[in-house]
């Protein structure tokens, strides 16, 4: 099952997410996070996409996965937050 969202981050940038998920179990099978935001280091977004594979599409699980990834990898977002990413992903399945 595919889902897409274009999410204008409040006071931030434009987040465009493409999601491929298992419909019954609601588990992420593929995700591409694109947009005009900034993230340092840049390649952390690719690792985050990998870290999100097989993650259940549940708000608290997504938030925890993303927040822990960001703090453990020392990622810095500009024009975007971990919470925006969580909400952006959830919008793909609405």
């Amino acid at each position: 099952m595919l889902g897409n969202t274009i999410y204008k981050v409040p006071k931030g940038k434009l987040l465009k997410i493409h999601l491929d998920y298992e419909e019954k179990a609601h588990i992420i099978q593929g995700i591409e996070i694109t947009g005009d935001f900034f993230a340092y280091p840049e390649d952390s977004i690719e690792y985050l996409e990998k870290a999100l594979l097989h993650t259940p599409l549940k708000e608290e699980v997504l938030r925890k996965t993303i927040t822990e990834f960001v703090s453990s990898q020392g990622v810095e977002f500009i024009g975007l937050t971990a919470e925006d990413l969580t909400q952006g992903i959830l919008r793909c399945i609405m």
Binding site: K16, T34, F38, I78, G79
Partner: protein, 254 residues
């Protein structure tokens, strides 16, 4: 004694070559081979650069680009798609540890944009920094900027719009919703300005470059001495152009 930095006038290049040169300077500076560097350049043919995280096919009308001979390239910096035509593009490469560069990324955007603002002031133009990465004149955007940090080195590049053809720009950029395209174009015409619009006298590329050179010198309290790319930088740049910026695997990676 005032610290001396290097000034590069690299002239006009293709999109891939321009992005390769910026990356080559970053690598050479991180290896300690060249001083902190400010570069001024232009694009020919006209080109779109997209941000590191953007999808090329989602942002760019590739068919239209081919027809109009407009080039495209993915940057190593984040941010949005930019149509480069009549503009001065700058880049600055300086170590993250330089005392003039704030550790905090947002603050460093402000400091580097401060050099552009001083430069515009030398052209008698009052502008302000508009976070995250824009500079505005009379509330309208005249400059967009994007920064990356690699190997403990800061690279920020940005554009100072000299003139803009918004209709052409939107023929090569895709809009999220075709139905609101006309509205979007009129909004952008309202939100974007250019030196052509704000200068009383005609202003040439050389005028802008001179004013910005002084702007960087004032902001960082340095002297900019004009020089060329080193042999090492030229070789690095050729490699990056060939193996990265002109390769589909890079430009279409998202």
């Amino acid at each position: 004694m005032t610290e001396q930095w290097r000034l590069l006038h690299t002239g006009t290049h293709t999109a891939a070559a321009n992005m390769a040169i910026d990356r080559a300077i970053l690598v050479a500076h991180s290896r300690g081979k060249v001083p902190p560097t400010v570069r001024f350049y232009q694009w020919r043919p006209s080109a779109i650069s997209i941000g590191y995280f953007q999808s090329l096919e989602a942002e760019v009308n590739l068919e239209k680009c081919r027809r109009l001979g407009v080039d495209y390239v993915r940057r190593i910096t984040g941010g949005g798609a930019v149509f480069h035509e009549d503009e001065l593009t700058y880049s600055i490469v300086v170590s993250e540890d330089h005392p003039s560069i704030p550790k905090n990324i947002m603050e460093s955007y402000g400091v580097i944009c401060g050099a552009i603002i001083r430069g515009l002031k030398n052209l008698e133009i009052e502008s302000v920094y508009h976070p995250i990465n824009d500079i505005l004149v009379n509330g309208k955007k005249i400059s967009g900027n994007a920064q990356t940090r690699k190997e403990k080195t800061v690279l920020q590049h940005g554009t100072i719009i000299m003139d803009v053809d918004v209709d052409k720009m939107f023929s090569v950029l895709k809009v999220p919703n075709e139905k609101i395209k006309d509205k979007l174009i009129s909004d952008v015409k309202e939100r974007v300005t250019s030196l052509q619009h704000v200068c009383e006298e005609p202003t040439s590329f050389e005028d802008v470059a001179r004013a910005l050179k002084r702007g960087f010198e004032e902001q960082f309290e340095v002297t900019l001495k004009e020089d060329g790319l080193t042999l090492e930088e030229k070789e690095l740049s050729d490699t990056f152009e060939r193996e990265c910026f002109s390769v589909d695997a890079w430009n279409y990676r998202r």
